[in-house]
Symmetry: C2
Subunit: 301 residues, 2 copies
């Protein structure tokens, strides 16, 4: 089934203990699309300025990523982010942030995208996420990401968004903040009460948890990897693998959600093994399936 | 098969956000024995002073816990610990510690215990752990716990211990410290190189990881529970469920290790649900088996 992602396209400079990657391609919609394209065709919605040095058609060559929704604004500049990861790779510092085109009006969802059935609203102001979602006629499964600043400053908008989305994908710290509850099981239950039927809490190297309103629960560790060079894009790759699989099978029953989370976990494990998109773009679907089977073997008893 | 535990018996005062438990029964060998007794007979080795207000025969009434190795020293005082857990239940502060009888010579392993096949050496000075293990004639599977102070101050002894034990059970922070390596996969591999054939790394609410020298790996999340009243004894209950199951089946192949870790995880989940031993002592084997099946369902995809 059709899968739409709305999110950022960025020029990133990332420093980790393994090196520096200067002015490389980044952004939530890019990581998401790369991961999801292993499973299903993707429709990308995003905006760049004329300064963007990357040809996305080339980046996604050989993959079924529809760039009808890629808007280039001649008067604008592309989003830029510079960040540093510290030794333990869990904490990162934003060295600078230029919102540029992201501070302007969001792109319109093109007519050809409006029948999308699966929708991922990557992190941005919740009011914009609502505005984007409203342009999709009849979504089957809409998932959203968010972050601490919106929980703090735009909570009413975020709560309105949660009433309109089927799934919230959020990290553990943000879940605790949104629910005002330290225990993650209780936090997930409180978030389910806010509207979505599915909450996925990402816990970094501790894996993830899926909670469905009906009382169904699933917990999966992260894929254990000795190679973590650059965690940037892990969350969006996770979402890409997750939504890509769901759109591929066209089902959102609990068994499908569990398989989808395992594929998301695997996609993220490839992303963090190298800088920018290299970890994801250098592999094939059979690498993903191989690691999926390994993850199953690692966790079953 | 016979299972011996050597460890502390203590009088604990524990404060958590859920309340205070004053002068309650604690100690590694007590939590371990309670958890392991659901699976197999246990031989307890430990020392108390005459001041100990607890009748361990009564505590373990109806359970197959052999107290031949319980030594009461009339001139000594029982080990005491007072600690406080903070809001997130992960960090704890030791308010005071009276080693008392634990600062004296360790107990001798009684003749009737010397043929024990499964041995758990709870946390103490590694030189003492070696001394205790040497009194067991022909152990099949010996596991040890340790902690940061021994890694820092008694590393040579600890390394000697690791050459004599089959399994080290250690938490994530200690594993990183011992291996001088942040990545836990690499840390486990470095610890395996120090001697044991099995390393189990406990990651608190993030679960645990089993690494065997032969390249076999297993990862299990913690049992997701909304009730965490007192984390004291979680690690020793985990070890008790783990070793208890292994001694019960008399096997240490990788499938048995995986099942054993799942039982350890379940035992720990009951311990933390209430103060002192209440969480563990108030349940039956069928509660453990029920949660074991739930854990399987929660993690399989």
């Amino acid at each position: 089934m059709s899968l739409l992602v709305t999110g950022s396209i960025g020029i990133d400079t990332v420093t980790t203990p393994y090196g520096v990657s200067e002015n490389c391609l980044g952004g939530s919609s890019v990581y998401f699309s790369m991961a999801a394209s292993f499973f299903t065709p993707v429709r990308l919605l995003g905006v760049i300025g004329l300064d963007c040095p990357f040809d996305l058609a080339e980046v996604f060559a050989g993959r079924d990523v529809d760039l009808t929704g890629l808007e280039v604004r001649p008067q604008s500049k592309t989003f830029r982010w510079k960040g540093t990861y510290h030794d333990n790779m869990n904490d990162r510092r934003t060295d600078y942030l230029e919102l540029n085109v992201l501070a302007e009006a969001p792109p319109e969802v093109p007519g050809a995208y409006r029948d999308s059935k699966y929708v991922f609203l990557a992190n941005t102001a919740p009011a914009l996420q609502i505005q984007l979602l409203q342009q999709v006629q009849d979504p089957v499964f809409a998932a959203a990401d968010t972050m601490d600043c919106w929980i703090k400053d735009e909570l009413d908008d975020l709560k309105r968004l949660l009433k309109k989305t089927d799934c919230l994908i959020i990290n553990d710290g943000e879940a605790r903040m949104l629910a005002d509850e330290h225990n993650l099981i209780k936090a997930a239950e409180k978030i389910l009460d806010m509207g979505p039927t599915v909450v996925i809490i990402k816990k970094g190297e501790s894996g993830s948890m899926v909670c469905k309103g009906s009382g169904e629960r699933f917990i999966l560790p992260a894929y254990p990897t000795a190679e973590v060079k650059d965690p940037t894009g892990a969350g969006d790759s996770f979402a890409g693998g997750f939504m890509g699989y769901l759109a591929q099978v066209g089902k959102t029953d609990f068994d499908s959600l569990k398989t989808a989370v395992a594929y998301g976990t695997v996609a993220a494990s490839f992303t963090i093994a190298d800088f920018s998109l290299t970890g994801l773009s250098s592999i094939s679907k059979s690498d993903i399936d191989g690691r999926f089977e390994t993850l199953r073997k690692l966790t079953h008893f």
